[in-house]
Symmetry: C2
Subunit: 215 residues, 2 copies
DNA sequence: TGTACATCAGTGAACGCGCGTTCACTGATGTAC
DNA sequence: TGTACATCAGTGAACGCGCGTTCACTGATGTAC
C-alpha cells in the first residue's frame, strides 16, 4: 500500500471536518465537491474513494458537527454544579461570537431547516443526532422529572437556535445583540422558574454572560 | 397593448405568490426559474420581463410571505381580548398543520437560515420584514412596557420558529408532536408569567390548542 | 538484502445535465387615421 | 366604422457555466521471492 494503514482514515476524517465547517458557513448546498476537497488539500477526483455521494458527506459532516457540539457541552458542564449547567450552555450559545462564526458553531441553526427538506435518509440521520443532543441537555436538568426535563431541553434548544437564526438575519449590529439578549433572558428565566429549588444567587450567577465562545 | 392595463401586474403578482409557496417548500435554492414560471402557467423566457434576476423574485416572494403572515395574525387577533392575543398566535403557529405545510406557513423557519447567508441586499430585505413582524407581535403585548414587550416578542418568535424547525427535523410522528407541545407550553407559560396581571382562567383558555391552521 | 510486482489513494480531463440568463420572434390587442 | 400599424407580454431555442460524477492513469509504498 502506498500509505500507512491509518492514512486513508485520517484523510477521510480531514475531509469531513473541513466540510462540516464549510457547510455550516455556506449551507448544505452552498459549496461544491471540488471546493470541499480543495479545503482538505486534495483534488475533486479522489472524492469517491471516500464517499458514495455528496449526500453521504453531508450526512457525515453534519453528524460530526453535532457530536462536537454535544461533546463540547459535556465538557463545559462537567466542572460545574448541577444548577449552573444549563445556564452555562445557554450563555456559551447565545453570544455574538457564536452568531458571527457559524462554521464552528451549532449545526442546528445553520443547517436544520435545509436538512429537514432533504431525503428521508438524511433527515433521519439529522434527527438521530438531534435526539442525542436533546438527551444530553435533558440530563443536565436534574431537579425535574424526566418528562419535564425533556420538555425543558426541547424548549431551550428551540429558543436558543431560533434566537441565533433571528440574530443572524438581523446582521451583527446592536439590534442583533438585543435579539441575543432577549433570547438569553427568556431561556434563563424559564430555567430559573422550573428550577424552583435553586437559590436566587444561583440564578444570578447564571445570568452573567460567558466569556468562552459558542457551542 | 395586448392586454388590459392591470394584466402585467396581475401576472407579476401571481408569479410572486406561487413562488412564495414553492420557495418555502423547497428552500431558497431548491427550485429553478423554469419551474417557478411553470407554476404560474408561463414559460421561463418571460421571467425577465417581470424581474431583474432570480434573486429579485426571491426577495419579493419572501416579503410577500412575511406580509401575509403578519396580516393573518393581525386578523386572527383583532376579535380577541388583549390578554388572549399572543396565545392565539402561538396556538395557531405550533400545530401539526403548520409543521406539515411549510408552503403556506411562516417563512422564518422555512427560509430564515438560508436567507441570512444571501447577499446583504437580500438579508436586509428579510431583516426589514422580520422587524415588522416583531413589531406587530410586540404591539399585542399591552401589559408590559415597550422594551419588555419587544423582548418578549423576540423570545416568542424565536421559540416558535425554532420549535417548528426541530419538529420538522423530527418528521411528523409522535416525537415531533411532543416537540410542538414542549414549545407551546414553554412560550405560553412565559407569556402567563410576564402577563402577571391576567387572571388564571385567561391563561388556561390560552393553553387550549387552536383548531385553525398555522400562521 | 535486493528486486519485481501489486496495490490503491490521489490526479485531472471529461461527461452529461440543469441552471440562470439572453434573444429573436410571435401574435393579440390598443391606437391612429 | 374600417384598416394599417405599433406595442409588448409571452414563447422557446440557445448560451455559457458550474456542478456531481466517472474514469483511465500515476506513482509511492508494502509485499513476495
Amino acid at each position: 500500500m502506498r500509505y500507512s494503514k491509518e492514512h486513508k482514515l485520517e484523510t477521510h476524517a480531514r475531509i469531513v471536518k473541513k466540510a462540516s465547517v464549510r457547510l455550516r458557513e455556506k449551507g448544505a448546498h452552498g459549496i461544491g465537491v471540488a471546493d470541499l476537497m480543495k479545503d482538505a488539500g486534495l483534488t475533486h477526483g479522489g472524492f469517491y474513494a471516500h464517499f458514495d455521494s455528496r449526500e453521504a458527506l453531508v450526512i457525515e459532516a453534519f453528524a460530526f458537527a453535532m457530536d462536537r457540539s454535544t461533546e463540547r457541552w459535556r465538557k463545559l458542564v462537567s466542572e460545574l454544579p448541577p444548577q449552573q449547567r444549563l445556564a452555562a450552555i445557554v450563555n456559551s450559545y447565545l453570544t455574538p461570537t457564536h452568531r458571527d462564526d457559524p462554521g464552528r458553531g451549532c449545526a442546528v441553526p445553520a443547517l436544520g431547516a435545509e436538512i429537514a427538506r432533504e431525503s428521508p435518509k438524511t433527515r433521519r440521520a439529522f434527527a438521530a443526532k438531534l435526539e442525542q443532543m436533546l438527551e444530553m441537555m435533558a440530563s443536565q436538568i436534574i431537579d425535574a422529572p424526566p418528562k419535564a426535563a425533556r420538555k425543558q431541553a426541547v424548549a431551550t434548544l428551540a429558543t436558543m437556535m431560533g434566537t441565533l437564526v433571528l440574530a443572524r438575519i438581523a446582521g451583527s449590529g446592536e439590534l442583533s445583540d438585543d435579539i441575543l439578549e432577549a433570547g438569553r433572558e427568556a431561556v434563563l428565566s424559564r430555567a430559573a422558574a422550573v428550577n424552583s429549588s435553586a437559590k436566587p444567587r444561583a440564578r444570578k450567577a447564571a445570568v452573567r454572560p460567558a466569556t468562552k465562545p459558542q457551542a
